[in-house]
């Protein structure tokens, strides 16, 4: 899928880069100017959420005001740049579980031996980082998405998941680039029976997110192993050439030796 296939349209949730006095210095529906490195002082308005980071001698002061609450913190740091990056979408409002359940708006039935790509969306969470030392320090994470949790499986032994609802599409189409990322799901059904999919569950701590000037994207794989079971994992490569790799919060989960898939044993 090439960039040209993706339509760009005016999104409901715009963001503005602001000058230090708070006045807007530009609006852009693409994510090009939001993600990446910015010099401090830095201000950003995403919908009704405003972020501001200022430098005061050897301190950095950060302030966020949003309908969901204000947040303020100070950092003892001489860093002059702040980095914005999409992060694994399981942190807001609280990191209760690393799992993400994407429910399909309509069931997707897969024929035996089929192998196709399906395009979904995932909730976008935006992390603010200051780099220094070996690891970037996350200052805050913001999101404009609807926050919801669900249980995958029974109350006894089920898996708590961040909940997201998405329409499965056969091709890449436009998304609200401030609230949603594109998830390309490679579905394969090596079994000999038809399988109906209602949702897909991932271990989002293993997610590999990439972004470019138009979208945030991740690639995933669903391998159906039975009429009610499957395995999900993430693709390590970007969906398209030239995409930047997002900063990862769950680095320790991605080390060698840790299982890199989630087994969907409680239904598809």
């Amino acid at each position: 899928v090439k960039n040209e296939d993706m339509e760009t349209e005016e999104t409901a949730n715009e963001f503005s880069l602001l000058s230090s006095d708070g006045s807007s210095i530009g609006k852009d529906p693409s994510v090009a100017h939001m993600f990446g490195s910015h010099s401090i002082p830095f201000s950003l308005a995403i919908g009704e959420t405003k972020l501001e980071i200022l430098s005061e001698k050897e301190y950095l002061s950060y302030h966020r005001s949003s309908p969901r609450g204000d947040y303020q913190t100070m950092l003892i740091s001489r860093q002059k740049r702040v980095h914005l990056s999409p992060v694994e979408p399981v942190n807001i409002p609280k990191m209760l579980s690393p799992h993400l359940l994407v429910e399909f708006t309509a069931p997707l039935t897969v024929e035996p031996k089929a192998k196709r790509d399906v395009y979904l969306t995932f909730p976008l969470e935006i992390g603010l980082f200051v780099k220094g030392g070996d690891e970037p320090q996350c200052i805050d994470i913001v999101s404009l998405t609807h926050e919801k949790y669900t249980l995958y499986g029974p109350a006894k032994g089920g898996t708590l998941c961040r909940y997201w609802r998405s329409e499965p599409k056969s091709s890449l189409s436009s998304v609200d680039s401030v609230t949603e990322g594109v998830l390309r799901l490679a579905v394969s059904n090596p079994t000999s029976g038809w399988v109906k999919l209602h949702h897909v569950v991932f271990d989002a701590a293993l997610m590999k997110i990439f972004y470019d000037s138009r979208k945030v994207a991740a690639g995933a794989i669903l391998r159906i192993t039975g009429s009610e079971t499957g395995e999900t994992s993430f693709v390590e490569q970007p969906m398209e050439k030239g995409m930047q790799k997002a900063i990862e919060l769950f680095t320790s989960r991605k080390i060698v030796g840790v299982p890199k898939h989630f087994v969907m044993s409680e239904g598809l």
């Binding site: 609280k94 429910e103 949790y149 109350a155 898996t159 708590l160 909940y163």
Partner: protein, 279 residues
Amino acid sequence: MLDKIVYGEVTVLDLIIAFVVFLASVGIAKAASVYIGRILKQRVETAHINLVRKLVHYGIVVVGVFAVFTILGVNLSGLLVAGGIVGVVLGFASQSIVGNLISGIFLFIERPIAIGDSVIITGTWGTVEDIHVFSTVLRTYDGLYVRIPNERVFTESITNLSAQVARRFEYEIGIRYSDDADEAIRIIDRVLEETPFVLKKPSRHAFVESLGDNAVNIIVRVWAPTSEWYSLKMSLLWKLKRALEREGLEIAFPQRVVWFGNSAEGSGKIDPAQERLEV
């Protein structure tokens, strides 16, 4: 040489066998002690591990010594009688200690609770602070330290509030008879949908449960992550009440409608407009 009598019927060979048995018992005791230390490591406090290791070590050595006495022809009947009496005395004295120890071991095997779980044990609500060999320590929600002997923990019912990832709770909300219950349920459902920690699945429910004396009673049942259950339960009811009132629905309060028996003059009928009194 080996058949040479040393004393009584004990030969040199018996002495050597006795010595080997003693050394073997010490060796077995040492090995068992190390093995127990390994399997209990990270499950039991070091002090308790040492206690169990010593008990096992000296127990095996004592058995070995008895075997050596038998080989050497020492009559243990008198010693056994004395030991039996001492054993009975010690048995009675240490009955509860041994009971707690055994219960503690079974608690480690069965694992109905873990450190950090919210539990109700013997009617005490709290968080499990520690599980020792002889006792379990709870920190009650008002900050008290409660030590419960393991025998009681094991034999009485345990309610583990943290065992599952999700918990359900419910409210009963009474609205006025003049209000639209369908509308109230729609408003309640909207608030539940907007609340992140009200789980999508298992499904939430809001329905008219009963037509009460003073109100139409709506039951609201929701599931929440166990870690967020208490804070959600504390905040959600007021949120629902405010949402209902914003839409013009009111929570009902106890009331009585009194009808006076005197009829309107001349008509023979009661005039509701004049004779009704709401209290």
